[in-house]
Assembly symmetry: D2
């Protein structure tokens, strides 16, 4: 029977013997490593690792693993997370009026390709409601105005807690989230930006790309931080354009890109392949 795998994501100051200590920890508890990825930053001498091993036959229960691992982690001053591949994360999608990324995620779910459960869609507009509900997903309308913003965000946070949300996806959500909101979901909010960051940060990147006359446009999936477009980048991709492309053409091409880049960033996150280090990501593909 398949009991799933355990995944340990960790980082710490580099020391001799780290790989040996970690692989021994798995081996001595009778685990079978199926993936092991390791990276040492040359600057700063920092060590990053992702180990995945089979739970089937492993000598520790899911509850025991963190208890037994904690002393070793302390000794090396590790920051670490433990995940299990058979846990289905609970996701919420924020969206405004551009719905292509939302649609894409809904269809991936419909095809059984999304490694997460869409618990709800939250929007400051109503365009998405029909399609969302048609697919049996809960839809919540939080209209945002200048003066109700804090209040609405508090309600959203309460809803997210109630729904036990693990991951927030900003699928072209046009509202700035407060530092408080982001502080509640550090490295758990993925945003899709419709440009090749850091080029064309901020508003209307299609127009900016058109005006500058670039020959390639891009899209960027990243963790949201307080300074929205400066968060750690997870995935980027690009597509060629020419002088013949109007802003409408740029938008059409970009939308395909945005859907793919967001899906890719999301998959990497859901497969627990990302470690954040300062303003950058380590992605163990």
């Amino acid at each position: 029977m398949d009991d799933g795998n355990a995944i340990l994501l960790l980082s710490c100051p580099d020391k001799k013997g780290l790989v040996a200590r970690l692989s021994n920890f798995i081996f001595q508890n009778n685990g079978n490593i199926v993936h092991a990825d390791q990276y040492t930053s040359k600057r700063g001498k920092f060590f990053f690792m992702r180990i995945e091993w089979e739970l089937n036959g492993f000598g520790l229960s899911r509850e025991e693993i963190p208890v037994v691992f904690a002393p070793l982690a302390r000794q090396y001053e590790m920051k670490w997370n433990l995940h299990f591949t058979d846990y289905i994360p609970r996701m919420v999608i924020f969206v405004s009026q551009h719905l292509h990324c939302l649609h894409d995620l809904i269809l991936r779910r419909h095809m059984g390709e999304l490694g997460a459960q869409i618990e709800a869609v939250i929007s400051n507009h109503t365009e998405a409601r029909d399609l969302v509900e048609q697919f049996g997903i809960k839809y919540f309308h939080f209209p945002i105005r200048e003066k109700n913003k804090d209040e609405q965000e508090s309600k959203q946070l309460a809803l997210l807690r109630e729904l036990k949300i693990d991951l927030v996806v900003l699928a072209r959500y046009m509202q700035i989230l407060t530092a408080k909101f982001i502080g509640n979901y550090v490295n758990k909010i993925i945003n899709i930006h419709h440009s090749f960051l850091p080029a064309f940060a901020g508003g209307n990147p299609y127009q900016q790309a058109y005006d500058r006359g670039v020959k390639i446009i891009g899209a960027t999936g990243h963790y949201a931080t307080e300074n929205l477009d400066e968060g750690p980048i997870i995935a980027q991709d690009v597509i060629k354009i020419s002088h013949r492309d109007t802003i409408a053409d740029i938008q059409t091409k970009s939308k395909d890109l945005e859907r793919i880049v967001l899906a890719r960033a999301l998959r990497l996150h859901l497969e627990n392949k990302i470690l954040v280090y300062g303003s950058k990501t380590i992605v163990f593909e």
Copy 2:
């Protein structure tokens, strides 16, 4: 016998009948059009065209063409240039200490792939001298210091005039050219910038890319303008990087990209496929 082709590059306010008038001009002089590309900007209603026709059998001599065409051009307020495919433009390459683009151009010339004659290489350093001279190309050393800059540039301009230079290539030349210099070669100076502009303009884009943690890096070939990195973009391309890439790795990957993007921009220019419109290019590929 092959007499080569004539190429007319023109732009003017859009009017009905422009294509007909221009193609009639060729036809009535017994010309055979081999390429015709046309573009009308929706904003500004501006018309751009590139027509290429065979000189063999054409009713006007090379000297007569501009004379006969001028009245038609005036009538439609055209900006226009006339080129002949069998003319080999005279090119000078400016370089500092990073020589990969220079080497690439020298080898393309050696393989007979470069549609231009390298008349000289100009450098503020001496690293390039041996290889340049080994291939039988003239090398000129113009060391640049704070206080001799204007004087050296004047000498460079004099040299360029003497060599009857049609095209200046900045193949990783680390000096800022003055407005005066650029004014002498408007849309005739091609620069390679080692980033995906407008991201990472200015100095040390490799470091900037590394620090920002982007997942893709790029290179940009563009016409030099007074604000160097804001000139009209001709060609761009990108390559993926990961967290494992050190700055040295980024440099290695970028250098391949820079060589290809510069060569592509150069080819488009030498094939007379580019029209500049404001800060953008129309590229008839």
Copy 3:
């Protein structure tokens, strides 16, 4: 008011003055050309053109255009088609059990991005029915068995005639169409093949790609011909893979690619930008 544009797609043996004759035809009837693309094959000396002009103010009605144009076309032995940009083509989608491309097209339609009307979905399976009908599109089930194949195809053809279908899209339809079927819709059937043709033609290209150990996989949108995977190619794109990608990973990556390549091929067809020449396409992008 916007009356839409007319588009003429034509090919004929190359002769002097063709561009002039064609642009004069438009101009003399008071038309304004908004796009003109032309290509002359060096081998075979064949001429291809796409001209698009505004109907607003044009001196001929839609019905008169072909009548007036016919003599000119005959004189130059042209093959030609006339299209109007405000006509919405009627499309049918054939699908089997892999539904990602179908879903993608349905969502593009839902977002108003598809320049065609999906009149019906036809399948030899039933998996697609619910979603198709949920979006208000007609679904027809034609189960195919060895001995009923011809009969079912005749019924499909009758249905297509009844629905006045302009374009057939094979969105991962796993049945071979007969020469008779294809003969009814020459260059009007677009197939998506899940490999970079001509590599991995035929069945199970994911497995073939995995077994060969390629580092890049692709997808190909093409017109269906009697020898299915040898039809004229419209669009191709690729994505990198590595030894870590299982067949399931290859499939996941490929599905994104297939959706985009099919959508791109479809868009080029619907914008009347494709001319077929032997087993190849001229695509005026």
Copy 4:
């Protein structure tokens, strides 16, 4: 002082505890792991690993490492190789009349970017001689005719042995090597094929690509095996083409691609990042 690193490349049937055993081997001899990459094939349950550690401070001398490691390797039935990063491999380049890849490698060497020493260039033609010798590299001419082929190959093999060659690069060498030749350098001969294999294997892939009307062309760097174009693929890349590209244009675009793909395949080999498994490669990038 920098003593360089040791790299162990190994493969064996998968067993529990392999990572632990291997990392312990390094740790117990006081080594510091700087890279560790591991892959387990799901089919066949085979284990592959690349470990790189610092020699500085390591408890075993270069000569002792294989002696001490051998018993462990035997126990797990490993196939393994040991490399040192400060060893400069000795390379020979075979070339015929298309010299762009040769030129590229010579320039990379000139720029100090090639992690190998070019000991000699071998050709069945004389075009390359001048440039090769101009850069101070030995050039050997082995004209090949039907009846002297075996004899010439024997002489080439003798020369390679004399030069203590580690790696053979076929930089567009148009002769088929015998099984005997290849048997002497298994997984040590890198060939560049000017197509996206397995499409357009064999002769004249430019023409084949042109005739088929593909929209993308590619290049493939691979280990040479008896069936030349079926060897394990190391690296591939592609570039877009259109109907406007003549065979000469395709060649020009392809040549850039070939240079980059060959250089990339070569770099991966020289950094000891490749394990061959059947007809495929594991590339630890």
